[in-house]
Symmetry: C2
């Protein structure tokens, strides 16, 4: 006894949602490029020349994970990594032509997949869905990210 109903546990639901998405992505979008990899390509289409850390911030990946994702994309020739002449710590990232092409192709497929994925919801429900998830995720991020206070932090 004393077992709990996991369908009211947001963490469990989030995991199942992501698994479902992973599966659909693999069948409808690409088996080569994963969703986080696409997010990185997308960030670099929007802002070419970003450094590694900032890309990580944009797509929500920590320093270690983003390093691996980027190294994989680099190995496949989808992006270039150049040391910043202004700041020898940074690597500046830029998509190759192949990277841009890949991003364009996946954008179309991703849109199709999202449509299928969200088909069980009406348009109204879809916006609510986005909004609710975003609010929960943002709030939780704020909890661990002290979000520099307006007055002196120390």
């Amino acid at each position: 006894m004393a077992a709990v109903d996991l369908t009211t546990h947001p963490g469990h639901l989030a995991r199942r949602l992501q698994q479902a998405h992973y599966l659909l992505w693999n069948t409808m979008v690409s088996e080569e490029i994963t969703s986080p990899q696409f997010a990185v390509l997308n960030a670099l289409v929007a802002e070419p020349g970003l450094d590694q850390r900032t890309v990580g911030e944009r797509v929500g990946l920590d320093r270690s994970t983003i390093a691996e994702v980027i190294s994989r994309l680099g190995r496949r020739g989808l992006l270039d990594k150049v040391r910043d002449p202004q700041d020898g710590r940074r690597f500046l990232l830029r998509l190759t032509d192949d990277g841009v092409r890949t991003h364009r192709k996946l954008t179309v497929r991703t849109a199709r997949m999202n449509q299928v994925f969200l088909a069980p919801l009406s348009d109204d429900e879809q916006s609510r869905f986005f909004e609710l998830i975003r609010r929960v995720a943002d709030a939780a991020e704020g909890l661990r990210n002290p979000a520099e206070p307006l007055v002196s932090p120390r």
Copy 2:
């Protein structure tokens, strides 16, 4: 140009939601036991003596992942694994006293964490949140799981 807004991509939102949850779990519930591990404990509290595959089904993990999770829980002495005398392929799983105690302790903390996690939403919004996610996840699962048809499949 042609970059896409990831905040309307359910996959990206799901990933961010799970990350936020992971963080909160680590600080508010446990650094030793992860959320999937708790799900397995919970399944075995509800139905002691399940086999590995069925536990995986209950919590939504594939054969390989469930094997690893269970081996970790076994190493920590939270569950026992016995060959089924009726069917030599199966392992029957059962929590140890320590496993039951751990589950009880985490149940309380998990409830507290869920409350904090969902605090940005009103009660009404919380049920809508659950329902929307569940519907999308269930539908996507149904897509790849042909869900044995009523008439002969072949």
